[in-house]
């Protein structure tokens, strides 16, 4: 009798145990990931009088804020596109270019390090390199008589920041695209060659169409990666460069926009843009995975 009872009770007890094991994760995710985000999104739609309003969202469409979004999108876009192209070129070179094998693992290891070497120290490194007293700036000036600052370059500018972001964007691309490049089987290029295809034809009709989805997907991930980054830009430029994360940072620090609802709307805009980029990534990578099998 007790045995029968025990077996009858067992499934339900085990079920509660399972949920007990998952519960900390679920509670954590709700409290520190989902609720704070939803709360901010909600705040974006509430005016100073506590009523529902679209005023905050409308407030985004003013000169300074639109300009900030536009610069952010341009920097993220430029660093993502260049990072993706250069990263793909490097991945192709080390994987298909028949370079010595140790070189490949060295590049992959270095990519793991460099893709995590972001934030404030990265800004320091680029100031030491391309700042007014940076090594490259001075070498170009003394040896080649090229004054890049007189030529209009500035590490605190659009191109300066893009060049700096590439330092973590390129390695991230190498890490993420390497499996796709690996997936290009040697037999395919041999088969194409046997059928009389030129190298160009192989890439045009076989190689690139296969890599393309992974390339686009990773591109959108790189975009989101740069769009949310703030530490590098802040350490490089202080608050002088008007990009969205720095604007939001100033708003949180000292209510720079004089309206908390507008700050929340700014955050909502950031989530909308990075979410869009990531949805593109998820959709495309799901399609790309079919090729990898």
């Amino acid at each position: 009798m007790t045995n029968a009872l025990a077996t009858a009770l067992k499934p339900s007890r085990r079920l509660s145990l399972e949920w007990l094991g998952v519960a900390p994760f679920v509670i954590f995710a709700v409290m520190f990931l989902i609720l704070p985000t939803l709360y901010l999104i909600g705040t974006a739609f509430i005016g100073r009088d506590g009523q529902l309003t679209l005023e905050n969202i409308g407030g985004l469409f003013t000169g300074q804020i639109l300009a900030a979004y536009w610069i952010s999108i341009r920097i993220s876009g430029a660093s993502a596109i260049l990072g993706a192209l250069i990263g793909l070129a490097i991945a192709l070179a080390i994987i298909r270019g028949r370079l010595p094998a140790p070189l490949r693992s060295a590049v992959m290891t270095f990519s793991g390090v460099a893709s995590n070497f972001a934030g404030v120290p990265l800004a320091f490194a680029f100031i030491s390199t391309l700042g007014r007293l940076g090594l490259v700036t001075i070498i170009l000036k003394t040896l080649f008589d090229i004054d890049i600052y007189r030529a209009g370059f500035n590490i605190l500018s659009f191109w300066g920041l893009t060049l700096t972001y590439l330092y973590f964007q390129i390695p991230l691309m190498v890490l993420l695209i390497a499996p796709a490049v690996d997936g290009l089987k040697k037999e395919w290029s041999e088969a194409a060659q046997t059928l009389g295809a030129s190298t160009w034809q192989f890439w045009r009709y076989v190689g690139l169409p296969i890599i393309w989805p992974s390339f686009l997907g990773t591109l959108s991930l790189l975009f989101a990666n740069a769009f949310g980054a703030i530490a590098t830009a802040y350490a490089l430029t202080g608050s002088s460069l008007n990009i969205v994360p720095i604007l939001l940072y100033a708003q949180i620090r000292g209510d720079a926009l004089q309206n908390p609802g507008l700050g929340a709307a700014l955050a909502l805009g950031m989530i909308a843009i990075t979410a869009f980029a990531n949805i593109v990534y998820l959709v495309i990578s799901a399609r790309a995975e079919r090729w990898m099998r």
Partner: protein
């Protein structure tokens, strides 16, 4: 085909130059503190700075707690989802991707608004509460990496057979997770831990906006006020990142490669 090898070398060379020159330049700059000749003065200055020691120690401690909390919430959840609640997997994958979609600055803004001193859970009302909030923030930042590391680790071992065998011997579920599963995925957990550490140690945004005396805000402050110390700190940070990533590579060699199932 000879041509393709030539271009591969050219691309590799250009890439290597782009990545190595800033490191060389930073190192060279960090040696220039003493006029006229190279010295390690800037490093001595950094290491003897009490603020360096205090903030580095603080961030290390916060990082260790973040690793601990991360392991405690992720390992049981992945275990039960893999073993008994497989239908929850897509949801978990999605939730652990969210920190890549929601920028850290947005996340911390939400924390500040939601857990302010007049709310139900006034985390930011006290120093200790803010420390705890910082730890949780870092757990969230590292969640995508910790989850993937642990999930990969559990895929390579046969948790079903291990669990059944332990149950037959009379082990409780807590014992199974702590003494059977965890040791078997230790390499994966440690990889996640080192990655967490690499992300957390110099993190600026969350620490700065929560006003905690962490290493990231200290770096930023030195950068705004000193000339040579920042480049020394950049080299030190690079070595720390290199160390954490190197540990993951070394650990990877010890990962179990035998598996009963291949899914």
């Amino acid at each position: 085909m000879k041509q393709s090898k030539f271009w591969a070398w050219v691309i590799f060379g250009l890439g290597a130059a782009y990545f190595i020159v800033p490191l060389v330049a930073t190192f060279e700059f960090s040696l220039k503190m003493r006029r006229g000749h190279y010295s390690f003065d800037s490093y001595a200055s950094v290491f003897s700075d009490p603020a360096f020691q205090a903030t580095f120690g603080y961030s290390t401690l916060v990082g260790l707690f973040a690793i601990l909390v991360g392991v405690l919430i992720v390992v049981p959840a992945v275990y039960f989802v893999r073993l008994r609640l497989p239908h929850l997997r897509p949801l978990m994958e999605f939730v652990t991707l969210l920190p890549l979609i929601i920028p850290a600055i947005v996340l911390v803004y939400g924390y500040i608004r939601l857990y302010n001193s007049s709310s139900l859970l006034p985390f930011t009302g006290s120093a200790l509460g803010t420390d705890i909030l910082l730890v949780f923030g870092y757990v969230t930042l590292a969640l995508p990496y910790m989850y993937r590391a642990v999930d990969t680790g559990m895929r390579t071992i046969d948790i079903k057979t291990l669990t059944e065998a332990a149950q037959i011997m009379g082990a409780s579920t807590a014992t199974i997770i702590a003494r059977i599963i965890l040791p078997n995925i230790l390499v994966a957990v440690l990889s996640g831990a080192f990655l967490t550490f690499a992300i957390v140690i110099g993190e600026f945004t969350i620490a700065s906006l929560l006003n905690r005396p962490a290493f990231g805000p200290y770096l930023q402050n030195v950068g705004a006020n000193r000339a040579y110390e920042p480049s020394a700190l950049a080299i030190i940070s690079f070595i720390i990142t290199w160390g954490a990533m190197g540990m993951i590579n070394v650990l990877g060699r010890f990962a179990p490669r035998t598996s009963a199932r291949t899914d």
